[in-house]
């Protein structure tokens, strides 16, 4: 990463850390949501930007993990923090394993369509299940709580505390993905995107690499789903809908796929645009749609490109 970018990243981090001290409650919660989406977008970028797998069903692990938290929360009792995170991420991992085994048999256009179809399958399952709340979804009355030997480091019912938990997790996931991509595993995944045939000839079991990458991305999406459910205090089928997946893909592309900070930038930009458009008109999605079309036609490499971020391992297409 070039030095100006490093400085910018540090400045953004400091600004984010200081924000709850000055921001109003509405904006603290808004930025929390943006960071959750950023985390979610980072997990998709792992697939789209690095592994070259364009998934249009990434809402599936996200939504199922959210529903797992709902099922783990009894009416008036807080579920354990680590336990529920582990459960949600496991559900996301198992779902990604099953779906991955099927969808990774395909590639290209097929992959896009099949991931979309499986995402919709999960959507309709949840939508039609009465015990999961059907089309209305269900409330989560108490947020998960962490207690270690009688000591409570934070209280998720407090928006500022929640904010810092999300910020810490986002930094953690960002770092993890950096380390992962620099590792031999990450190198192989990027190489598969560039030329899968060659990698197979070199003796790599490419299917397994792709599957592990698919599961990892699913688990991180699960973490984002857990956070979203805990933050909003409710789950509904819309979390699994393909609009969720489509919007997420837009964030990744808008920020600049395969760039370190692209997904964060994209999530922030798209959410901010939404907020502005919603203030203008009831038909804000029209403006959003026009914006998406225009950005695909005129800004194909995203905001990161506009900021002249050096693209190290992103595809040149």
């Amino acid at each position: 990463m070039p030095r100006p970018a490093q400085i910018l990243l540090l400045a953004v981090l400091l600004a984010l850390a200081a924000f709850p001290l000055v921001g109003e409650k509405f904006y603290i919660q808004f930025v929390t949501k943006v960071m959750i989406m950023a985390l979610f977008a980072m997990s998709l970028d792992l697939l789209v930007g690095y592994a070259g797998l364009v998934s249009l069903g990434h809402a599936l692990p996200f939504g199922l993990a959210a529903y797992a938290l709902m099922l783990m929360t009894p009416e008036y009792q807080a579920p354990g923090f680590w336990l529920s995170i582990a459960a949600s991420m496991s559900v996301a991992a198992i779902a990604s394993l099953v779906v991955g085994l099927l969808v990774l048999r395909t590639s290209g256009i097929y992959f896009i369509m099949v991931t979309l179809a499986f995402g919709q399958m999960a959507y309709y399952y949840v939508h039609d299940s009465k015990h999961l709340g059907g089309s209305d979804g269900k409330y989560i009355y108490v947020r998960p709580a962490l207690e270690m030997f009688g000591w409570k480091p934070f209280d998720l019912e407090n928006p500022a505390h929640f904010y810092y938990v999300v910020l810490a997790l986002m930094v953690f996931v960002y770092t993890t993905i950096r380390i992962l991509l620099a590792s031999p595993f990450g190198r192989v995944v990027v190489a598969i995107r560039e030329n899968e045939h060659r990698l197979r000839m070199l003796g790599y079991a490419t299917f397994r690499y792709k599957l592990v990458c698919f599961i990892l991305a699913g688990m991180l999406a699960g973490l984002a789903g857990w956070l979203a459910a805990a933050h909003d205090g409710l789950v509904n089928p819309e979390m699994l809908s393909w609009h969720q997946s489509g919007q997420l893909l837009m964030m990744v592309i808008l920020g600049g796929m395969g760039t370190p900070a692209g997904p964060i930038l994209g999530a922030a930009a798209l959410k901010a645009l939404e907020l502005v458009f919603q203030g203008w008109t009831k038909h804000w999605q029209l403006l959003l749609g026009l914006f998406i079309v225009a950005s695909v036609l005129f800004m194909p490499r995203g905001l990161a490109q506009v900021l002249e971020w050096k693209r190290r391992s992103a595809p040149t297409r």
Binding site: V48, V54, L56, L102, V103, R105, T106, G108, I109, Y110, I112, M113, V114, L116, A117, F118, Q120, M121, Y124, Y125, H127, D128, W242, G246, L249, M250, I253, M257, H283, Q285, L286, L288, G289, L290, F291, I292, V293, V296, L297, P300, R317
Partner: protein, 288 residues
């Protein structure tokens, strides 16, 4: 199962399947020939249904309004291809997905601006507004039979167009090698434009035909789009024959799923897709 009920379910399944075929065949043609993944295809189905709602109020004859609707949809297709689609041919599928996703949002809001967010109904044409009695209590709507007949006629028409005409030859050649066709002096851009408009008109026609039996409502294109994707995946991308077979299979599976196993009816279609993927990842009639 009672034979009369069984017959009704088969007819319903075939009718639903044939309707899906109209949408999916356009989708598969646009994929197979132009290499474009078009998420906005479901919006054209919706557009068709709303056109039927408006046109039948101004034009007394249902069939005449359908013809006008097709012409309008074809014109929209020509304009849309010229305006945005032709910029996507050399772009990655990723960008096609995003751009057509943006189009969905635009069409959905335009629909909201023009027609509002209410649910509407379209009357069944008077000449066909009766039913054939099957037993003392059961009967079958003639309009549904007419729908199936029209869809079948179009399936044959498409076969003839693609396999037996000069334009069809250009379309088939264009799907194999765009540059070669171009250098043989054929205006491939024009062929693409016609194919896109044809696909759009087919989806709109499906929406118009469906309008009298289903209602006309916001977001109606989404479900049809996803099921059409499943049809295309099962049949094999670019294969119109595959789309027909897969659409009929899905129509019957979905109809009988709702009768025999209502708890998992929503999943049957996707389970069928998973099974086909395990067996032939490239689809039944797809080229490997």
């Amino acid at each position: 199962m009672d034979p009369a009920i069984f017959l009704i379910q088969v007819l319903n399944g075939v009718q639903y399947g044939l309707l899906l075929f109209l949408v999916a065949s356009g989708l598969t043609l646009i994929f197979g020939i132009m290499g474009i993944i078009n998420l906005a295809h479901g919006s054209f189905y919706m557009l068709g249904a709303y056109l039927a709602f408006s046109l039948t109020r101004f034009i007394p004859n249902f069939w005449l309004s359908i013809v006008v609707g097709i012409a309008l949809a074809f014109a929209v297709g020509i304009i849309l291809e010229w305006l945005v689609m032709r910029l996507l041919y050399h772009r990655d599928h990723l960008y096609q997905v995003l751009l057509t996703y943006g189009l969905i949002l635009i069409f959905e809001e335009l629909r909201s601006l023009v027609w509002g967010d209410d649910v509407h109904g379209v009357p069944v044409p008077a000449a066909l507004a009766f039913s054939i009695p099957l037993t003392d209590t059961l009967s079958y709507q003639v309009y549904r039979l007419a729908m199936s007949a029209i869809c079948l006629a179009i399936a044959f028409g498409m076969y003839w167009l693609i396999q037996r005409t000069r334009l069809g030859m250009m379309i088939r050649a264009g799907s194999v090698n765009r540059d070669m066709v171009q250098s043989l002096g054929i205006n491939i851009g024009l062929v693409y434009r016609l194919v896109f408009a044809l696909g759009l008109a087919l989806a709109a026609l499906a929406g118009m035909l469906a309008a009298p039996v289903s209602s006309v409502y916001p977001g109606m294109g989404n479900q049809v789009l996803i099921i059409s994707f499943v049809v295309v995946v099962i049949g094999g991308i670019g294969s119109v024959k595959g789309a027909l077979v897969a659409a009929l299979a899905i129509g019957l599976a979905d109809t009988f799923g709702k009768v025999l196993a209502p708890q998992i009816a929503g999943m049957v279609v996707y389970l069928l897709m998973a099974a086909v993927l395990l067996w032939r990842p490239q689809g039944i009639f797809g080229r490997a």
